[in-house]
């Protein structure tokens, strides 16, 4: 490995200089890069991989590192005009691991560090929102119990189930759960939860560095042949809250610089109002599409668009960001190169060549044969005529198909048995509908998004799907449905465009894979690359 560097061991995002992942870890380097681009990143600092290796060598953090950490914490307090442990203006931080390469099995993230019995009361007073305050504390204690003190998730859950929460309002229920967690940490986790925020930070940082040698992380490194000595960095970052209630809106979301399913240009994503960072996709209830953000908060929509453009230009690839809006202010939390479907992979690679972002050879190398194959699946060449559109929803599983509408699984099955092509249209889906999915060429649902059961099942079977088209009511014993204010009979011919999220009366022509200039051009480049 590299010789001990002369660069500082503990350094703020803004002062870190070269965003070198070997020194700052992948996450840290990415944050430093974003700050360098002038993006709105919640302030924080990094303990370098040198510190991580030192921790493992010495069995603890050196005094100098602790002093530097204290200096950086004071810097955060000063910059944000908040203080650790101050109930009236508390500074809360997240503590994350960040190795130079992805490292499953390491401690990942602890949120809301800095909350304690007094600060949580202050936070509840300040926000007037018990559920938010106690829910945040519960979250800290839960991950502290499992990841820092190593209590198994099952044992933690047992303790939570024993908490007397029946019939309580959500804030009080969360308060009861924090009591249960505090007791559990005391009794099963080797001692009291540290009420002193600085002690919390130190214990979390120790846990991050220690987790480099967790059995799971070791097993993974052995399995993947990753060098044991590279070590991890640790990121301490101020928290912003997408679930803070107030005069201006709050929320969290994920945004992609282009549509990760079709590759269409223009940013794409989802936002969940009143939800915290890590809830981005794991929050409860349905998220709204990003377009809705631009309609509701045009200035924020525009800012986010600029963020996407500058990050994509930097990465020269499709990128994904996690963002939070706290009381009307946009914060960018994380970015990475995004996963994409086959068709999107082809289109994005070709478009980026045309935009001068990458070379033809890069495009050829980037798109796998598997992605090219997926890009050849049937789809519509263009959007349906506006006059033919019956409903719009989320493009949840790509491809295009035409069939006769059926409104329950048994009917879909029966029609398919007669050799008819069926499109199953349901208000929502449950396991009883899966049989109908298999019998159908495409699926439409009234409720749910890309992570709904219907979407997961449809993608799993390669069926085009449009989810979340609005109210669907099955009537007439399953032989008809009301979609919005339109009544549709079983057997009505409909076209499902899973790339554009459109259900239409008549089908646009199918795109011929031979005529798909994206696929054709990419094929040529691949052929050139092989000669």
């Amino acid at each position: 490995m590299s010789a001990p560097s002369t660069l500082p061991d503990v350094v703020s995002f803004g002062a870190a200089g070269d965003p070198d992942p070997a020194r700052l870890g992948g996450k840290g380097a990415s944050l430093v890069k974003m700050v360098g681009l002038g993006l709105p990143v919640p302030p924080g600092f990094i303990l370098s991989t040198d510190v991580g290796r030192g921790y493992l060598r010495d069995g603890g953090l050196r005094e100098a590192v602790l002093a530097d950490t204290e200096r950086e914490l004071r810097g955060l307090e000063h910059a944000l005009d908040r203080r650790l442990g101050d109930p009236d203006a508390p500074l809360l931080v997240s503590v994350r691991s960040g190795a130079p390469v992805s490292m499953p099995g390491m401690m990942d993230t602890i949120l809301n560090v800095g909350l304690n019995d007094a600060v949580v009361e202050g936070l509840a007073r300040d926000t007037g929102d018990d559920e938010f305050a106690w829910g945040s504390y519960e979250r800290l204690l839960d991950s502290f119990a499992t990841t820092v003190r190593g209590i198994s998730a099952g044992v933690v859950e047992e303790a939570l189930l024993d908490a007397p929460t029946t019939g309580l309002p959500p804030g009080d229920a969360a308060r009861e759960r924090t009591k249960a967690l505090l007791a559990l940490i005391r009794e099963e986790g080797g001692g009291e939860f540290p009420q002193e925020p600085r002690a919390q930070v130190e214990e979390c940082v120790n846990a991050v560095f220690g987790s480099w040698n967790s059995p799971r992380a070791k097993a993974y490194r052995k399995f993947r042949g990753v060098d044991d000595s590279i070590g991890t960095a640790c990121v301490v970052q101020s928290m912003v809250f997408g679930n803070r209630h107030g005069a201006a809106p709050s929320g969290s979301g994920v945004a992609f610089s282009r549509d990760p399913s079709t590759g269409a240009p223009g940013s794409y994503g989802e936002i969940l109002y009143d939800a915290q960072g890590e809830d981005v996709v794991s929050g409860v209830r349905d998220a709204e599409p990003l377009d809705a953000l631009s309609a509701r908060l045009p200035e924020l929509g525009r800012q986010l668009e600029e963020v996407m453009v500058s990050l994509e230009r930097e990465a020269r690839d499709l990128i994904e960001v996690e963002f939070t809006i706290e009381l009307g202010k946009l914060w960018v939390l994380q970015t990475r190169v995004a996963q994409r479907g086959g068709r999107a992979a082809v289109r994005i690679a070709v478009d980026m060549v045309d935009e001068g972002l990458i070379a033809e050879a890069d495009a050829a190398e980037r798109v796998t044969d598997e992605q090219l194959e997926a890009a050849r699946a049937p789809r519509f060449a263009s959007a349906a005529d506006e006059a033919d559109v019956l409903a719009r929803g989320l493009a949840s599983s790509p491809g295009g198909a035409v069939g006769e509408a059926a409104f329950d699984a048994a009917r879909a099955q029966a029609m398919a048995d007669d050799g008819r092509k069926v499109v199953l249209v349901r208000p929502t889906t449950s396991p009883t509908d899966v049989q109908g999915f298999i019998a159908s060429v495409a699926v439409v649902t009234g409720r749910g998004g890309r992570t709904s059961h219907a979407a997961v099942v449809a993608r799993g079977m390669g069926r085009p799907a449009v989810c979340g088209i609005g109210d669907v009511t099955v009537i007439d014993g399953g032989r008809a449905a009301r979609i919005g204010d339109v009544e549709m009979r079983e057997g009505t011919q409909i076209a499902v465009d899973g790339d554009r999220g459109i259900v239409a009366r008549t089908a646009p022509p199918l795109a011929d894979a031979q005529d798909d200039t994206y696929v054709t051009r990419l094929n040529q480049w691949k052929a050139t690359a092989q000669t």
Binding site: S102, P104, G105, S152, A153, G154, V156, E157, E158, L160, L161, T165, T166, G167, R216, Y220, R224, P260, V281, S282, G283, V284, R285, D286, Q339, R340, G341, T368, E370, Q371, A409, A410, Q413, P427, T428, T429, S430, P431, T432, D433, V434, Q435, F437, I438, T445, R447, G448, G449, R450, T451, S452, H453, A454, A455, V456, V457, R459, G460, M461, C467
Partner: protein, 192 residues
């Protein structure tokens, strides 16, 4: 198949268990031992891909379920269901993330499978406790674990494929069981 063996089989219980398994499991439910009898009564029909409830079967199932609900502490089950819901969206998101990976992304699969293992460890406590009220819930943790074990052995389809007893299928069935048992509709709950 184990369901009928969980307790003494009286005619009523086994009829309910069979109908309920089909109601919440859809085509993945095992064809019950008394399928011919139920089909003869016009309660189910058996097709090559699985069993489905007829309209009469749905009515009969609803009656039997109502009778069972009268003997169950539904408030306690509802509180447990809240804990299931606390990890439901995270689980579905992991499944959606999984589907976005290409075949060679072993790292990503490893991460998702271990995340789901942790969720399972947690939610098993909830399901096991639910089983003190409704014994059939005891079957979900081992079925989920079975699917995840196969995933860890490289049988990727056991995460989300609709065609095998995948993690997502069993999860969806368990969710449906909570909803049906508690009489909650997906629309009013807003979880799909």
């Amino acid at each position: 198949m184990e369901r009928g063996q969980l307790r003494d089989v009286t005619q009523g219980v086994s009829e309910f268990d069979a109908l309920h398994a089909i109601r919440v499991g859809g085509m993945h439910a095992e064809t019950p031992a008394n399928a011919d009898e139920l089909a003869g009564q016009g309660l189910i029909f058996v097709s090559p891909v699985g069993c489905m409830l007829t309209e009469d079967g749905q009515t009969r199932h609803a009656e039997l379920l109502e009778a069972q609900r009268a003997d169950v502490d539904l408030d306690a089950v509802r509180a447990l269901y809240e804990r299931f819901l606390a990890v439901n969206q995270a689980t579905k998101s992991k499944c959606a993330e999984w589907q976005n990976l290409s075949d060679d992304e072993v790292d990503g699969r490893f991460v998702i499978a271990t995340d789901l293992q942790e969720i399972l460890e947690r939610v098993s406590a909830t399901m096991t406790r639910t089983a003190t009220h409704l014994p059939r819930f005891a079957t979900y943790p081992p079925r989920l674990q079975g699917a995840l074990d196969r995933v860890m052995e490289g049988q990727w389809e056991y995460l989300t494929s609709p065609k095998v007893e995948s993690f997502h299928n069993v999860w969806m069935e368990c969710h449906e069981d909570y909803l049906v048992t508690l009489g909650i509709s997906r629309e009013e709950e807003g979880s799909y």
